[in-house]
Amino acid sequence: MVSYLIYKAILVLIIFGITLFIAMYSTYAERKVAAFLQDRLGPDRAGPFGILQPLADGVKMFMKEEIIPDVSNKFLFLLGPSLAMLTCLMTGAVIPWGSSITINGTPYSLQVTDVNIGILYLLGVASVGVYGIMIGGWASNNKFALLGALRASSQMISYEIGMGLSIIALVMTTGTLSIGEIAAQQHGGHWNVFYQPLGFLIFLICAFAETNRAPFDLPECESELVGGYHTEYSSMKLGFYLFAEYINMFISSAIIATLYFGGYNMPFIGRFIHDPNMLTLLGTAFLFLKIFFFIFLFMWIRWTLPRFRYDQLMNLGWKGLLPLAILNIGITGVVMWLMGKI
């Protein structure tokens, strides 16, 4: 029992560390990708190629003056960024980061917990994530922050529906809500994206909206709302909000890779390598490769597309994605019925 707890604690710590590390370097990657897409070089002063830039940014964030507005609700003002950070870190627990490593005959799964309602857990935590932004925006007692928070909450609620419905079609084909099982089912190149292309597209678009990334970054659009929900935030509390966005991006990429792109499965590699531990590690590496690609995709899209107008955003969510997702469920049902699976 104790050894089980220690193994879980170590796994949690490792995943926590890796998540923070990748989020940290996502900020650097974002700036580099933005620069490269605009024919610039980006940060290159701190260390070779500027790889110490995230550290410099972190130090800067910590050294900045911390301002809590007099008219704000102090407790909620502090709760906002903490909640944003907490919820985005919670999701990592149900993602299978690899199959399992066998040490001394005992298999150790690389998933912290394979709850049998993993997908529901994901959607639930994503919904709680709205509160971080909403509470922060409301507690600032600032009209821009409030507008940003309003936008964020209505946007995330609207897109959660499309996301949930696209996942329902996925659940229909896989027959399980456990993420570990969904990942395991895609062994041997049977990636869900081939069975659910439309569902994947809807999920991808909703993931962009859920993480408040361009072209759906209306909650913090600087040209209209100063800084949106984090207008009044300074110092590391602002850093927490920005950081939470990058962690969300990382986790979203991990979820997309796991649900639709085979997770840790690597086609054909089983023919060349037979050591199971080696296979697991390679699979994890391959999963991270997929995750990095999707993080790059997030950035690539951000620096390509202009921001949506708010009514366009709502139109797309309610009149575009929602009917499409329902249609997708219908098509999935019909095809499964024709193939005799139900």
């Binding site: 490269f36 897409l37 024919d39 610039r40 290159d44 690539w300 899209i301 390509t304 597309l305």
Partner: protein, 193 residues
């Protein structure tokens, strides 16, 4: 009606086709354009290590020249200050004492000479006004600083070093036309008495 130019275009609210309505082809097209830029040659000049090439007549930081014997050419006549449209130049004069002939070219010299680099617009009018060829603009850049007071450059920063090999080269700014103009004996503006 006759159109004024042949560039006029009839604007209509044409219904979008299905492909245009679902955005995706346009988005993919845009992504293709941005990814092409990803691999393109970057235009950034990494400034302190790599310096961008200047035009030969670039107008940067000023220099107060010395003559061939190492004496300061400036006589503190104040023409540059008068010519300066930004009123960036101030100076005080002093009389040359016996024994200082090596230091100053003529009987009067600038005891202090200050240019406020934040006011200066680098137009080069001071250089044009100077009858003694004492002040020139060079291709050196005024470095950035964190304190406004430090941008008021005194003689310590403006006068060129005495050593022959450390002199600031301003030959690039003396174009053929300028040299031709100076040869003109009638003007005699640069002649030693």
């Amino acid at each position: 009606m006759q159109p004024l130019t042949n560039r006029s275009k009839v604007v209509g609210d044409k219904k979008l086709t299905f492909l245009e309505k679902i955005y995706l082809p346009a988005i993919l097209n845009g992504m293709l354009i941005t990814i092409k830029h990803f691999f393109r040659k970057k235009t950034t000049v990494k400034y302190p290590e790599v310096k961008r090439e200047f035009a030969p007549v670039y107008r940067g930081m000023h220099v107060l020249k010395r003559d061939e014997n190492g004496a300061e050419r400036c006589t503190s006549c104040g023409l540059c200050a008068v010519a300066c449209p930004a009123e960036a130049i101030t100076m005080t004069s002093a009389e040359r004492k016996p024994g200082e002939e090596k230091l100053y070219r003529e009987e009067k010299y600038a005891a202090t000479y200050e240019i406020n680099m934040l006011r200066c617009i680098f137009c080069g009018d001071c250089e044009e006004a100077c009858p003694k060829e004492a002040i020139f603009l060079t291709d050196r850049i005024v470095p950035s600083d964190t304190l406004r007071q430090r941008f008021v450059y005194g003689k310590d920063l403006l006068v060129e070093p005495k050593e022959e090999n450390k002199r600031i080269d301003i030959s690039k700014r003396q174009t053929k036309e300028v040299l031709e103009f100076k040869k003109n004996k009638e003007l005699q503006h640069n002649k030693l008495r």
